[in-house]
């Protein structure tokens, strides 16, 4: 495969799968923060946070 095809492969993977991993990472960190907050104060997070 030509170098340009490899570069587009890296470009596509970085934006799509890198972006996806970044967004999921944010969501997971937020979930952990919410879990910690609800452990400290049981009324802080309810079912509506889903």
């Amino acid at each position: 495969m030509p170098l340009s095809a490899w570069l587009m492969l890296v470009f596509g993977c970085t934006i799509l799968y890198g972006g996806l991993a970044w967004c999921i990472g944010i969501a997971v960190r937020q979930r952990d923060r919410n879990a910690n907050a609800s452990a400290e104060s049981p009324t802080a997070a309810g079912p509506e946070d889903r």
Binding site: M1, A5, M8, F11, L16, G19, A27, Q30, E48, R50
Partner: protein, 498 residues
């Protein structure tokens, strides 16, 4: 007193359902061909621009609107301006029309799943598809009777949809945990098989090698916007309906980003599966990859079966895997579309999800049989063309203008930002007000001009008038009737509306 609105089991269930709805057959049979024929790897540039300036902004709009107003499309638009409930019913009606003809592809897939065990298509898969499976007539005027095996496939599809939707989002929350990851896994199996075949790398070279000169052609950019728009299940009310089952404090923006990226990531991935197989097929037949490259039903039911027959071993197994992949990809989109329509009935008249699912399936199943008659293929083609090229484009355009100019959009953005993990800036408002409507207007005018000048597919005018414009306009009339029917008094009180 109306009961509390159902909610998704978890945020993961909502995202899975949204991804399942967005990821469909088009990711496998349309994107790879569009990318290959529009500059190869270079197509990724307009594709990503379209994703971030139109796809994801509209996805955020739809999910956010449903979440904020806690209603499906009809009542959500009705809450912005009362007469817009009519528009909301029309949008939901489009999703009902889509699910009725979309099930046809699933009926074909069921039939092929059976034939895959023996590769019954032999060495003439095209003749097998059109003459043996579809028993296609000469034209739309020659309808004939429904084809027996396809009726069975259709019945199985509707039965599955009923079973999945009978408990509303509670059952959907569970089903998507299987039906969304399963096709990804099966695609991965097909990719491993494809990459180990001779000639696979030639196919992938055709898929990825960029032709940057094509980026100066405005039609390529239009194609990228069209691909993003249709691929994300936008403008049919699905995401508004799904968003309406989120809690009032639920996060929307990052969920929309995850949905959009997962959908496009699946398309990109599917391109490797398709082109590795096409490379192998070209290698076996001693022709160039472009000679075997195709898209749509031709790819799924003619080219891929040919490639499966030519595999060195385990042909039946890989045939079954491929058609199970198609079925699992399609079923999520199908029940999401039905849910988008029936949510309006639940919101307005409090109809129970089980009754909604049962009544809809009992009405839709007989109607869908039109598409498995001998002339059904032509009607399927016409209805699909009009719903996608006119119905959904008009719906998307109107949604952007309604929310962009009639619904305090800055306040809406601030509302989303309050509970969001990713903050929206002014770019989102610009995308909704100007970029997406601008591009959709160009697509709509181009489609209209083409239809007026050359017609579509060589079909007679009466057929496109009935199947095409008739379907789109019929939902305008039915939408008006549904809008004018009074809301149940307990629903009125519960929402504090008149």
């Amino acid at each position: 007193m109306a009961e509390a609105r159902e909610q998704w089991h978890s945020r993961a269930a909502f995202i899975m359902a949204a991804v399942g709805s967005a990821v469909g057959l088009g990711n496998v049979w349309r994107f790879p061909y569009v990318a290959y024929s529009s500059g190869g790897g270079a197509f990724l540039i307009p594709y990503f621009v379209a994703l971030f300036t139109a796809g994801i902004p509209l996805l955020i709009l739809e999910m956010g609107l449903g979440q904020r107003l806690q209603r499906g499309a009809p009542l959500a638009f009705g809450a912005i301006r009362k007469p817009l409930q009519w528009f909301g019913w029309w949008v939901a009606g489009l999703s009902a029309a889509i699910v009725i003809y979309y099930t046809t592809i699933l009926a074909w897939s069921w039939t092929y799943l059976w034939h895959a065990l023996t590769q019954a298509w032999g060495d003439q898969p095209e003749t097998f598809f059109f003459e043996t499976v579809l028993r296609r007539s000469e034209g739309p005027g020659e309808i004939g009777w429904p084809v027996g095996p396809l009726v069975i496939g259709m019945a199985l599809t509707w039965l599955l949809i009923y079973l999945i939707l009978r408990k509303g989002v509670r059952s959907v929350s569970k089903v998507v945990m299987v039906t969304v990851p399963l096709p990804m896994l099966l695609l991965a199996v097909l990719l491993v098989r494809g990459l180990t075949l001779p000639g696979a790398i030639d196919g992938i070279r055709y898929y990825l090698t960029p032709d940057f000169s094509m980026l100066t052609d405005w039609r390529i950019w239009l194609k990228a916007y069209g691909q993003i728009f249709f691929s994300l299940s936008l403008a049919s009310g699905v995401m508004i309906g799904y968003g309406s089952y989120l809690g009032k404090k639920a996060e929307v923006t990052n969920s929309a980003l995850i949905t959009g990226l997962a959908n496009c990531g699946t398309s990109f991935f599917a391109g490797f599966v398709v082109f590795s197989m096409l490379g192998y097929l070209a290698n076996v037949q001693g022709v160039a990859v472009p000679d075997v490259t195709t898209s749509g039903s031709g790819l799924a039911f003619v080219t891929f079966p040919t490639a499966i027959s030519q595999l060195p071993a385990l042909n039946a197994l890989f045939g079954v895997i491929f058609f199970v992949t198609l079925l699992t990809l399609g079923i999520d989109s199908a029940f999401a579309l039905q849910e988008a329509f029936t949510t309006g009935f639940h919101d307005k008249w409090g109809v129970h999800p089980e009754k909604l699912a049962r009544v809809f399936v009992l009405i839709a199943f007989p109607i869908s049989l039109i598409f498995v008659t001998r002339g059904g293929y032509f009607w399927f083609d016409i209805v699909d063309k009009w719903i996608c090229d006119f119905g959904l484009v008009i719906s998307g355009l109107a949604q952007c203008l309604i929310v962009g100019f009639l619904y305090r959009v800055r306040e809406f953005r601030d509302y989303l930002n309050e509970q969001s993990e990713v903050r929206l800036g002014n770019w989102w408002i610009w995308a909704l007000r100007y970029v997406t409507p601008g591009v959709l207007s160009v697509i709509l005018v181009a489609n209209l001009l083409e239809e007026i000048k050359v017609g579509y597919g060589g079909y007679p005018r009466w057929a496109t008038l009935i199947g095409g414009w008739g379907t789109v306009l019929l939902w305008g009339v039915l939408g008006f009737v549904l809008w004018r029917r009074p809301q149940n008094s307990d629903r009125v009180n519960a929402r504090g509306e008149d």
